[in-house]
């Protein structure tokens, strides 16, 4: 068990009333597991990820990482954001180098690590490009490279491909899986795309909003590589939609019976 969340609550005080963003969340994450957290906007899934990264503190509950409480943000729990997280005044190379410089990695070793990770995300030749010269997908690759370069024990991903078009997103999902296969990391991946969760996750936690809570857990039975057109894949998506109360999953007979 690399990470354990025990009875996490998070409330935000807004003017008079307080809003419950997370209600009694308990999660156990195994080493090298690919865990997806799936839910609609506003269900607190990003908040949850920020708590794990220690960018914010829970109102109550415990977060235990490698059998210790977490004191604050740490490169060992790297976080990939949705967008805008690259430094626009730094080139691809400099963006990846920044974290390594902070960690005081000697320059020779630093260069090797940067080179390795630029190759890992398939961006050789773009070292001296600035973020504004890159496409959305390329920027996210740089972010992944920058985060992985610090060799985190857990890779936290906060809807990293949500701002990309569907085609690019599918490609990025595939690449992420191949990186995950090579690097063998624990990944917690937050998304609002059902298909993405089914493609990626060993396990899927389904969350719902007001208050933000986990409503269901699914161990993904599908063999990798997964094909979104397979019968089992579509069935699993349907099952998730039912849990989320998305109506179109009901059969016509079901609708007629309810009338």
């Amino acid at each position: 068990m690399i990470l354990e969340l025990k009875n996490i609550n998070k409330t935000f005080d807004q003017d008079v009333q307080s809003i419950t963003a997370l209600d009694d969340i308990s999660i156990q994450v195994r080493r090298n597991e690919f865990l997806c957290i799936l839910g609609p906007s506003g269900c607190g899934k990003s908040t949850l990820l920020h708590l794990i990264a220690a960018l914010d503190n829970p109102s109550s509950g415990e977060i235990i990482f490698n059998e210790h409480y977490i004191p604050g943000p740490c490169a060992c729990r790297g976080l990939v954001f949705q967008e805008d997280a690259l430094y626009p005044w730094k080139t691809v190379w400099q963006n990846i180098a920044f974290g390594l410089e902070i960690q005081k990695i000697p320059s020779l070793q630093r260069e090797l690590i940067i080179r390795e990770h630029i190759n890992l995300v398939g961006l050789p030749g773009f070292e001296h490009f600035y973020p504004h010269q890159l496409s959305g997908g390329m920027k996210q690759r740089v972010q992944i490279a920058r985060t992985l370069a610090l060799d985190p024990q857990i890779l936290l991903m906060d809807e990293p491909f949500a701002a990309l078009d569907e085609i690019t997103r599918s490609r990025m999902d595939e690449e992420l899986l191949s990186i995950w296969n090579r690097k063998k990391k624990t990944v917690i991946f937050v998304t609002h795309s059902i298909e993405e969760a089914v493609i990626l996750g060993d396990r899927i936690l389904i969350m719902d909003a007001s208050p933000g809570r986990i409503i269901h857990e699914i161990i993904n039975p599908l063999q990798r590589p997964r094909n979104p057109d397979d019968y089992d894949f579509i069935n699993l998506k349907r099952e998730i939609k039912t849990h989320l109360g998305v109506c179109q999953t009901q059969s016509i007979e079901g609708v007629l019976n309810n009338v």
Partner: protein, 280 residues
Amino acid sequence: MNKHHKKRSISDRINPKHLSLFQTMGTLIILLTIWLLTAIFVKGIRGISFPMPWEVAGRLWTLIKGQLIYNRSLHAHLLSSLWRWGLGYSLAVVLGLIAGLTLGICHKLRQSILPIITLIQMIPGLAWIPIALLLFGIGNTATIFMIFIMGFAPIVLNTAVGIQAIPPVQIKAAQIMGANKRTLFFRVLFPSALGSILTGLRIGMAGAWRVLIAAEMIVGMGVGLGYMIIQSRWSLDYESAFIAMGIILFLGLIIEKTLFGMLEARLPYASHQRNKIGVL
């Protein structure tokens, strides 16, 4: 052979180096034409002689050769203005950056002080004259104070706003990578605000330069380009007024192109926002 030639516009067919030369010449020709038309118009309608470009050029030549104007040489007026501007503006840059960076990172201070700076920025340069005179009396200090205050406010505002404008995820990303407060300030907040700081320096420079001339006209010390303009008016030596104006423009242009051009060239990521869209 590719037969589908894209129709190219005129400006595409000219060598870019030549194009910028043409553009500069175009600007000059337009300016001269406006000048000539104004001169002809004024003479025709009002019957007053308006300095022609060649008259001004001739007067400039006598001044460059060393003829005194209002008891000083031309370059004495020029240096005196430059010196006042340099001192006032340098003060504005140093104090403005310190104040702006402090306000940028200190939320509580910002909320109470930034509105004051905004107010200061709205006061026109000349309106500072009574305050400058009350504080320092007639003399250099009053002029330098006015230059300082016109440069100071925009530098503070743009620096503080530039620091505030950083996307929060960029701060969070740095925190996760292990940045302490020092690293966060010097390697994240400050560089992210540089584009905005440059804008502030530029607005401050222009404001300081304009008020310098105005201040020299009124609280001047009998020397300076502003003094030269106002004296030429009384002595009907309009050619000299034009010369002073031309020098002011020219210096502003040089400062803008060299100082800010150099600074901007070091921010390649900041210039991509400017587009080059044109119909022709």
